[in-house]
């Protein structure tokens, strides 16, 4: 290690249910630790300054901007990334609904969108359209797919029917 390199701190995180130990520099963000140390690249590095929401993860269930959070602040806390949203072989209802509604184009905002949506439904099982818009207002979609995204959250909460179900592969398993 070259002289003057900041010493690393060892911390323990509970990531997607698993306890993991990692060494980080004090200035490392949670996003960098997730993507570049743990190789969980589902959390996206968009603006890297808290404007776009692509890096959203859940910390103890609360949607949080991983790019503005220091990894060392997360000692002992439960972090859920998009890789951990599915429960066992079953995708989360939000993931299923995003699929059914075609609520994506490029996909870059999806992990953050889905985690914000999942946290909303955890707190409020039947949100109004306005509450959905408010809860997702920190997650930007530049493909202008908001309508389908809000529809998907309504589908996930059982408040909207999907008109047609296209044939599609099952979403279980390791795919």
């Amino acid at each position: 290690m070259p002289a003057g390199r900041p010493p690393k701190t060892v911390l323990t995180l509970k990531v997607n249910g698993d306890s993991v130990e990692l060494a980080v520099e004090p200035r490392t963000t949670l996003l960098e630790a997730l993507r570049y140390t743990l190789r969980l690249t589902g959390s996206k590095q968009g603006c890297d300054k808290g404007d776009c929401g692509a890096c959203t993860v859940l910390i103890d269930g609360t949607p949080t901007l991983a790019c503005l959070t220091l990894a060392v602040e997360c000692q002992g806390r439960a972090v859920t990334t998009i890789e951990g949203l599915a429960r066992g072989p079953h995708v989360h209802p939000v993931q299923d609904a995003f699929d059914l509604c075609g609520a994506l184009q490029c996909g870059f905002c999806q992990p953050g969108m889905m985690l914000s949506a999942a946290a909303l439904l955890e707190a409020n099982a039947r949100p109004t359209r306005l509450q959905i818009r408010e809860a997702l207002s920190g997650n930007l979609c530049r493909c202008t797919g908001y309508k389908q995204i809000f529809d998907a959250v309504e589908v996930a909460s059982g408040q909207r029917e999907v008109a047609e179900r296209d044939p599609r592969p099952t979403t279980g398993g390791e795919s």
Binding site: P6, D48, T62, P63, L68, E134, S137, G138
Partner: protein
Amino acid sequence: MTEQGYVRPDNLAGALDALADAPEGTRVLAGGTDLMVHLRAGKRFPRLVNVARVSELQALRVWGGALEVGAGVTVARLLRDAEVRRHAALLWQAADRFASPLVRSRATVGGNLVNASPAADLTLALLALDARVELVSRAGGVRSLGVDELVLGPGKTALGAGELVRTVRVPLAKPTAFHHFEKSGPRPALEISVAAVAVALRIEDGRVVEPRIACGAVAPVPLRVVPAEQVLAGRELTPALIEEAALAAAKVVRPIDDVRATALYRRRLVAAFVRRSLTAALDSQRVSHATGS
């Protein structure tokens, strides 16, 4: 950053110790919604003092005739708190218009003050509410400043070496109080104010008492528009008086042209927002007359 470059004290005494012997350029890290952005942009600070675990900064209670808000209280917490809504509706309204839920869950009251942005929404509300900011340091003990004494310019405050914002004390709203917050941006969420107006006044015996009007993003600091307040003080609220106050406010602000809006547009927004706020006050008065309360 060296080993000393990042400290995370567990209590206020530890935080004040870390600040007392700190090298110049040391910064306090709370929610990080501004400071982390500077860090990401490559700016380096000799020491960061993370106050996230300092419980003394987490107070949120009615105490001694005021709403006491710890510097570490997040915007999200303000929004969830019934006492804030009841006793400092203006602060609640500003919190409601603040950035996005993702930013609100981290951004703190103390950070909004100390960051000293001309467009700071909470700071604007606190100025209109005549809040007092308590600063503490290991050497100097406690001192209390008004918001306009604390915030001196963009990014500039009266905070001395080793000093930390501990608490903000907001006088409790009287039953006759009227609070109104207006803010403009092209998108409801995540928008930095193009212009914002915070109004706090009371209407007693049909007359305006102690009006305080603060305007944001139209001067180097959140600015009280005293001439507009003087138009209103002691007078009966009428459409003509409202117009006079709106024009007085637009005249005294000092907006600039920048990437978000022209100065002229900002000046017009100030007039419109003051007009809208005071019209809402007039309407609320009519409602309370109609219901006999």
